[in-house]
Amino acid sequence: MSIAISVDDVSKSYRKYDERNQSLKAAVLRGRRARYTEFAALSEVSLEIPAGSIFGLIGDNGSGKSTLLKCIAGILTPEKGRITVAGSMAALLELGAGFHPELSGRENVFLNAAILGMTRQETKLRFDEIVHFSGLEEFIDAPVRTYSSGMYVRLGFAVAVHTDPDILLLDEILAVGDEDFQRKCMEKISDVHGSGKTIVIVSHAISTVARLCENAVLLEHGCISNRGPAQDVVDFYLSEAHEVVADEDNLGTRWGSGEARIEAVTICGDSAIPVNSIRSGAPITFRFACSSSTRVDHPVIGIAISSIDGVQIGGVNLNATGPILKYLNGTASVELVIDDLPLVPGAYLLTATLVDQHLARTYDFRDKFLRFDVIPDSTGGDRSFETGPLSLGGIWRLVD
């Protein structure tokens, strides 16, 4: 099998400036440029990506997966090592990169397509197709600044998927837009793959990688710690203890009076090890670490799960079980155990609340602050029989 991308012994380090003072005065006074320490983002990484495959790069935040993708794309230049790419390549690190707000949708299509490496002639030929795919026929001559963010993303994606490169690099862009748009994304990616193109995906969404990719590598602190079939790499990743409280990206907003607080929520599967991905239909435990500055009587902890586009799927609070927490003074730990998680594979957001007995006073409200992934159960990847966020389960029977 031929190789589409070959990464050979690549190292890349960033400069971490002690003080972010890029002024000439500072440089003159110190006699040189700002002080910095080198920070290795990738060290001696080697891998080969076969042509015509879908390849995943996974890892925690700061593991170097995006750096590696940017090196492959040619945006960053590695200090050491070589990257060889066979064929044309388009990097989709951001939908609609380079869109100019004052230009019309039409002009921006040509601009964005040129940035992604298409010639004017190619763009002309595919223009109608692009506009049709985006569904923005009526607005194509209006300036992009008048577009909603959804329209912006749709136009960006429409251009991106019509660039038709041999190799497509995707960084987290599958995590945007509504469900309908995500489905369109997935379909198009299957199409592109079906026509023999190579796709490299960087994603937080472990479930996406497990579902879409054939092979994957796991990066940890800039080194490859596991490689092989995507499902195996994902399993390896999940089996490892991750010293992370899921994936707290400072999502959402937080408010409340603050006498009592939810310090952290950890998610565990079958074992007591905190994880940020959980299998569909498997047991799940949400552990709440709470604290208070004064004595708070009968606090009520609540939880809600939303799909990635913000629609709440379900929620429950402590009153469902009864008054097990009489008061909170100092710290306390409470957990909610669900025997079989009825969610379809995908990404979800968690909301945690801490309120008084009568649900009148809000001590702490952390809205959609934690993201976690639900991955396919151990029986295999194909869940195409399910739609929507809720796993209905059930058994089908033939009635005579």
Binding site: S23, R33, A91, F110
Partner: protein, 274 residues
């Protein structure tokens, strides 16, 4: 040269960026493109008031054209100088303001600078076209000289490109450069014979007790030869001096080579530093 080959490969991207530069410049203003003509004319009017009417600076008689008009004399040098000025002030910031694109897409970063220079060059050509019409109306039969004017524009563009490449990439590392350049450009403006003829600059002068060949030193500034050449062709209707031309071309080529070299050396870390 691999840089040249890469840029030729990306010529469509360059033209699209150039168009973006031109199209977005006067978007949402009522007069739009007319501003690019109003600006230099208003400036010329102001300078004529101050320097010709109040300070009594005399424009020389065009040799052999016989024309004598301060405003026109001024415009022949002002337009090329403003081109240098505005190209440099725009391109010094171009990498920083396109930072997001630099982090998200891979193509030669010099395209940003190149497209600013090309957009500005196009603007200069239009402005010079209007000036040519004014000259024709005043009886200066400038038409046969216009090809030579385009050659001068080409030389100046190369000159500006070299400076702009260096300035833009250094500004990413030292953000103060932008402000330094604004000051430097003011000095340049008054130290280039735009508002006055070079004959007003003394040949020799006693400074700190030493006799200095002031005009020869003044002439070291490559922009002096540049604007003099424009004036020779447009105002006087004669060939610029060969020595001056060679000096200017020498500077332009040297700056272009050094510009691309400096840019290439600093290009690699741009996505991290911008």
């Amino acid at each position: 040269m691999s840089v040249a080959r890469k840029l030729i490969e990306k010529r469509e991207l360059i033209s699209i960026f150039t168009l973006r530069e031109l199209r977005t410049k006067y978007k949402r203003s009522v007069l739009g493109w007319t501003w690019s003509l109003i600006n230099p004319l208003a400036t010329a009017l102001l300078y004529t008031l101050v320097f010709s009417l109040i300070l009594k600076v005399e424009a020389p008689v065009g040799n052999p054209s016989g024309i004598k008009n301060y405003t026109v004399y001024l415009l022949c040098a002002l337009l090329p100088f403003q081109f240098f000025n505005s190209t440099l002030t725009t391109s010094v910031d171009v990498l920083v303001s396109n930072g997001n694109l630099i982090k998200k897409a891979a193509f030669p970063r010099s395209i940003f600078v190149l497209s600013v220079v090309m957009a500005m060059t196009l603007t200069l050509v239009i402005e010079l076209g209007v000036l040519a019409i004014i000259l024709l109306a005043m009886g200066n039969s400038v038409l046969p000289w216009l090809p030579l004017v385009l050659v001068l524009v080409f030389i100046e563009s190369i000159f500006v490109l070299g400076v702009a490449l260096m300035a833009s990439v250094w500004n990413v590392y030292f953000r103060d450069l932008k402000y330094l350049i604004t000051i430097a450009l003011q000095f340049m403006f008054y130290l280039t014979p735009v508002l006055y003829p070079i004959t007003l600059v003394p040949k020799h002068s006693e400074i700190f007790g030493t006799d200095l060949p002031v005009r020869a030193l003044y002439r070291l500034n490559p922009l002096v030869g540049m604007v003099e050449s424009y004036r020779a062709v447009l105002y006087d209707l004669r060939f610029p001096s060969v020595g001056t031309m060679l000096y200017t071309i020498g500077w332009s080529v040297a700056l272009l080579v050094v510009g691309f070299w400096v840019f290439g050396r600093n290009e690699r870390r741009l996505a991290e530093e911008v």
